[in-house]
């Protein structure tokens, strides 16, 4: 079993704001992240797949194809977007990095071929904050 990771990146605006709550409660829970006019980040996305190495190619999976899948199903939907307003798979969800990592997993998993298993979505919101999702 080999693990292979591809790094892509995107820049986006978001806010952490629960519309079912008052502005005061949102401010109390989410602090400056609840700014109604949004703020933004440079996100770094690490996607790790696992599987057996193909004897003919020496590849687990062509990493260019993994990059293309990430670009088509994730980066094009998120890059230079407002995560709360512009992204179909985040609609009606809280735009936390946790939920975004789960959403990215759900975008990618159906497109991987048999024998290539999605292992981890690691998403950096800042160079100091990141989440990992293993599909559990």
């Amino acid at each position: 079993m080999v693990y292979l990771t591809r790094l892509e990146h995107f820049n986006a605006a978001h806010k952490l704001y629960n519309p079912a709550w008052s502005k005061e409660k949102n401010d109390a829970v989410f602090g400056i992240c609840a700014n109604e006019n949004w703020h933004g980040h440079n996100f770094d996305l690490f996607v790790t797949i696992k599987g057996k190495v193909n004897e003919d190619t020496g590849f687990l999976f062509d990493v260019k194809k993994l990059s293309d899948l990430m670009k088509i199903h994730v980066i094009e939907k998120l890059d230079h977007k407002n995560l709360n307003m512009d992204v179909d798979f985040m609609r009606d969800k809280m735009c936390s990095t946790e939920n975004l990592a789960v959403g990215i997993w759900q975008q990618l998993a159906p497109h991987l071929p048999q024998g290539v298993i999605l292992h981890c979505v690691k998403l950096y919101e800042t160079p100091r904050i990141y989440v990992e999702y293993y599909g559990e």
Binding site: H9, A12, H14, C33, G40, N82
Partner: protein, 157 residues
């Protein structure tokens, strides 16, 4: 103490001071802030903005982790050995830059970019102008601003 030793020490002290006063040194402080923005010119049509600014013209904004490097250049103070106390510089950046721009929408939430396109170039010039009055006149100031790890600007050029 023998006179010879005293003279030698005194001479070394003077030489040391002269040596130090000739040497300019740069000190740097690295800070960061996160913000949303949109690049567009309100005098242009949406189509022209799209043609020039591309996806940066998204009306719903996008955002960045900005990394700011502030460079101060001057001769170290003879008493402290400092060009500038970096804790004071850090506090100054927090007060003048971080408080204004962190977790803000640069277009909507800041007076500085009400009528100024918040490109990295313009943000660097604005930060320079915010900090310059608080830094000793005999020190040079330079701003380096990273919009992404791959795109950055410097002012003055």
């Amino acid at each position: 103490m023998p006179a010879f030793d005293f003279c030698k020490k005194e001479k070394r002290g003077i030489l040391f001071t002269e040596y130090m006063t000739q040497k300019k040194v740069s000190v740097f402080r690295h800070e960061h802030f996160n913000a949303a923005h949109r690049l567009y010119n309100p005098l242009w049509s949406f189509e022209q903005n799209d043609a020039v600014f591309g996806k940066c013209n998204n009306p719903n904004f996008h955002g960045h982790n900005y990394e700011l490097v502030v460079k101060i250049t001057g001769v170290p103070n003879a008493d402290t050995g400092y060009v500038m106390d970096l804790k004071q510089l850090s506090d100054l950046i927090k007060q003048e830059v971080h408080e204004r721009f962190d977790h803000k929408n640069l277009n909507m939430d800041t007076a500085e970019f009400k009528n100024l396109n918040p490109t990295a170039e313009n943000i660097a010039v604005v930060i320079y102008d915010l900090l310059r009055p608080h830094i000793d006149a005999d020190k040079d100031l330079q701003i380096r601003l990273y919009e992404t790890p791959r795109n950055f600007v410097e002012y003055p050029a």
